[in-house]
Amino acid sequence: MDEWKPNPAIKPHKKRSWYLAWKYKLMNQRTLRKLCQTGAVLFLLVTVIVNIKLILDTRRAAYEEEEESAQDYDDELLNVEVPRHPVSNKKVLDVEVYSSRSKVYVAVDGTTVLEDEAREQGRGIHVIVLNQATGHVMAKRVFDTYSPHEDEAMVLFLNMVARGRILIFTIKDEGSFHLKDTAKNVLKSLGSQVAPFLSWRDMWTFVGKKGGELYGEKHAKSPALSTWGDPVLLKTEVHLTSVEDAECRWPDTELNRRRKRFCSKVEGYGSVCSCKDPTPIEFNPDPLKDNKVFDVPVAVIAGNRPNYLYRMLRSLLSAQGVNPQMITVFIDGYYEEPMDVVELFGLSGIQHTPISIKNARVSQHYKASLTATFNLFPDAKFAVVLEEDLDISVDFFSFLSQSIHLLEEDESLYCISAWNDQGYEHTAEDPSLLYRVETMPGLGWVLRKSLYKDELEPKWPTPEKLWDWDMWMRMPEQRKGRECIIPDISRSYHFGIVGLNMNGYFHEAYFKKHKFNTVPNVQLKNVESLRKDAYETEIHRLLGEAEVLDHSKNPCEDSFVPDTEGRVYVMFIRMEQEADFTTWTQLAKCLHIWDLDVRGNHKGLWRLFRKKNHFLVVGVPASPYSSKKPSSVTPIYMEPPAKEEGAVAVPAVAAAEQT
């Protein structure tokens, strides 16, 4: 690191160079900065914006790349298929590993298991895990350790790999810039002699056994900051062990046989494959008394994020009242690893040939999954729809069991959803409370068969229409004024940070602080009052009892709501007509809740909690509840920020969708 001198002339990556240049200039010219403080502030602002954009870009690129490499993985597995037998009978594997600026590849016994020469992609350290007995590829990852925090992810991953596995490393382009000592030490502990000294633009290949031998390592130092090390090609031999040595000695049960199959194929799932103390794969949660959703099919919509799917299915199978026989996982594409996860849990999975691209692909996958669900369970009146990046609350089925009759009987309902768009840690309080809302939140919801078969399926957007299925479902032509039932505290938690419309920044801002119910067996309050007419009575009662807040204060300030608990407060905001959400959006912004579009409203009314008090917001005069406004109160108006500022506050993801 001592050699490293910031030099704006060096361009590690064209796109980012100007940003880096500014950043480092800023750090070095401390004296100058004092003189032009205002300028620095501006700089910072610019940096923040650029940073956000950069993060977005990187995430997006990372995601696309992951998809790409996954595609390769499929093809290669087909190729691997052929030498499978010779490989397993042979004692020695020939391994070839290549590292260079623009290309990396790994070949095992002449079969290419990794090849990446795409431009502007796949930068960093590529890791391949081989089964030490069969030579099969068990995991394939790339960690862009040029960027921050990726080395931490790599350490996490390497720690999860079982002892005895064969690890192959190779660097593409640059892999040292954010490779910190912790990570270097882990590599060293794996037997690498070079890792501690890896530096800027070095080329490096390494093959070793976890907890054992070093099979080979090659390294080429970068001669100058502006150039890369020479390409290196490492050719080595790996001695295979017997299958028995590569497997754990778990008792021979049905479950362990599934576990064995899984653990000999894939890596990176931690304790599920631990020899000593494997984590259970069957959960047997308590059954629910009088479970009304025991026979309701559950469709899990999945892509190629097997680690997510693993986490999701664990929480789903741990939820009380779950019926594993009703669960089908629909995988968008011929990915093996998600299917391995499905089989590990003894569930059934269906693969779906991808149709169309991006959002339309997701949309077509949804349609196929829903149609298949109702075909497979012809008796079902409903289906529960889940996604692979959701945690499921322990009382998810209990929540549905108590409310599903409403969806059957109340024609004015569109869905029941487990997700409250506005239910953040600081705005949701009551696990027994339900709302009616005009927006469809998705993220764990119940679909009525008749709605799907009679209305949605026949006119579902065709593949050439690049629409989001959920945006489409929210359109008035489909929703037709119907509402969804949601809980105050969500029964699902959206943990995915890699996704089509998702990235770390976006997740942090809008999803991380979402409240998630962890209390089992919550008895829902007043379920009958959620019916169309009863709900109006209930709202009028609430508004009648609510104390009007002091409208001269700033509603964004904490002091706007008194320091009480368990009270009901109401405020009135300006809302000229049904679609006027100017003030609401500003309020949502300063309350740090969902503000990218309007969610959670019911006839111009929003219900949430502030400081453990029920907090009602009524839009005047558009809302029919405006009549509850005392004549002395002037509805609060909040101005949208000026255009430019708006551009800063609402980053490029403004249009992003929470799928």
Binding site: Q325, Y334, S348, G349, I350, I355, Q364, F374, L376, P378
Partner: protein
């Protein structure tokens, strides 16, 4: 007391104690895994049906002789409802320990066949458990959309052991089949406790014409590649109405016990595109004139479908039209069987002209259409070709029922004095 029983049986000629033992072992096997199976062996059910009253009245009585499970046969056939068990390897391990050799026949799941590009699902359709010289054929029934049970055909894959059992002698599996969900009855026959269909004779009747035709999903997809589907709101609306009209018509006719099938444009829609043809504007059904009932018209009226017109008479060219919701018409054509063909008639109201549409003879098969189990002619291609000619694959929007069909014949004119009777318009 099986051993005692076998001694008794052993003394009787023509009896096969092996079979009885194998069945008993099999029932023990599936009981130990809590798998509910029921007997569908047509030969045994035929015998059981003769004694059904006695069997029903003495569910626990010991049998003096082995009447049912001892006739020497290669197979005994049982049914299994897919949704009542979880596919588990444990069963096979136990079976092996008991000395059974077993064979599983899997194939594509037809419930997903109609869908674009789904895979990963092959389902077990048949199991055979063999012990000594006897085999148990276990047919797996699946619930499908339209509230019925389906079993698959038995097709051996390339490397299957073709001599595992004499497959050709099996009673189930030559074709796929469709059945109503049966009511079951637990009985004791030959000292074996076994579930049987509550009404064996109606089950056997059902079995005799249970053949099922899957829609030609692949061809339908190819058709839509060539002629993209009409996704307009009108088309969506019409399909929805046609579907509910068909459901209502099926309910009404089934309640009357009148057998019907998809005819004309509705049949073409099923055969060509596995869906209602959106520009067809009506729903067409066929009924054999021998199944005609006078209750038909009042029953439809009661179901909310008023009679729109009635042409012809029972002896000749009968045709009924009912008015469905929102301009969708239900046409019921009555078919007359001759020695070498079948025909139905048409009438032009204003001129009294008669037409005749000729079809080659056909039998009826079950199929699934818009979430309904309905009949279609098994020989669908001939039926459709007779009606629409060799170019039936090409959509035609302008259709004249008097001249367009390739099987139409001019059939004279109704005598004027009969017009009031044979041309009724409401």
């Amino acid at each position: 007391n099986g051993a005692v029983f076998s001694k008794v049986r052993g003394s009787q000629s023509g009896h096969d104690s092996t079979r009885w033992h194998v069945v008993r072992k099999f029932l023990g096997l599936i009981a130990s895994h809590n798998i509910p199976v029921y007997l569908i062996d047509p030969l045994i059910l035929g015998l059981v049906d003769k004694d059904i009253e006695q069997i029903r009245s003495s569910p626990d009585g010991p049998s003096p002789e082995c009447k049912y499970f001892c006739a020497p046969r290669d197979f005994t056939t049982f049914a299994l409802l897919d949704k009542t068990w979880k596919h588990e390897v444990g069963l096979f391990r136990t079976a092996e320990k008991m000395g059974f050799q077993w064979l599983k026949i899997i194939n594509k799941d037809p419930r997903l066949d109609g869908m674009d590009d789904l895979s990963g699902i092959e389902i077990p359709l048949h199991y055979i458990f063999k012990l000594a010289s006897h085999a148990i054929h276990l047919v797996v029934f699946y619930e499908r959309s339209g509230n019925y049970l389906w079993h698959g055909p038995l097709r051996l894959k390339q490397h299957a052991d073709r001599k595992f059992v004499p497959f050709r002698k099996l009673h189930f599996g030559r074709y796929p089949g469709a059945y109503e969900k049966p009511e079951l009855l637990l009985v004791s026959i030959d000292d074996l406790k076994v579930q049987i269909p509550k009404n064996p004779s109606s089950f056997l009747e059902e079995m005799s014409h249970s053949r099922f035709l899957e829609c030609r999903y692949r061809e339908a997809r190819a058709f839509f590649q060539l002629y993209p589907d009409d996704a307009s709101l009108d088309a969506v609306e019409f399909r929805k109405k046609a579907k509910s009209l068909l459901h209502l018509a099926a309910l009404t006719l089934n309640n009357l016990g009148v057998k019907f099938w998809l005819s004309s444009g509705t049949c073409l829609g099923w055969y060509r595109q596995c869906n209602v043809i959106p520009h067809s504007k009506d729903v067409d059904l066929g009924v054999f004139i021998r199944d005609y009932k006078t209750d038909i018209i009042p029953a439809f009226q009661k179901a909310g479908l008023p009679l729109k017109h009635k042409f012809g008479k029972i002896e000749d060219s009968l045709e009924l039209s009912f008015q469905g919701e929102g301009d969708v018409k239900l046409d019921i054509f009555f078919f007359y069987e001759e020695d070498d063909h079948i025909w139905n008639g048409g009438t032009q109201a204003k001129s009294g002209k008669k037409f005749k549409y000729l079809f080659p003879k056909f039998t009826l098969c079950w199929t699934e259409f818009v979430e309904l189990k309905v009949h279609v002619p098994c020989e669908t291609l001939q039926y459709v070709e007779a009606n629409y000619g060799p170019d039936w694959k090409v959509p035609v929007k302008m259709w004249d029922w008097k001249s367009s069909p390739s099987n139409v014949q001019y059939n004279g004119v109704w005598p004027v004095d009969e017009w009031d009777d044979v041309i009724q318009i409401y």
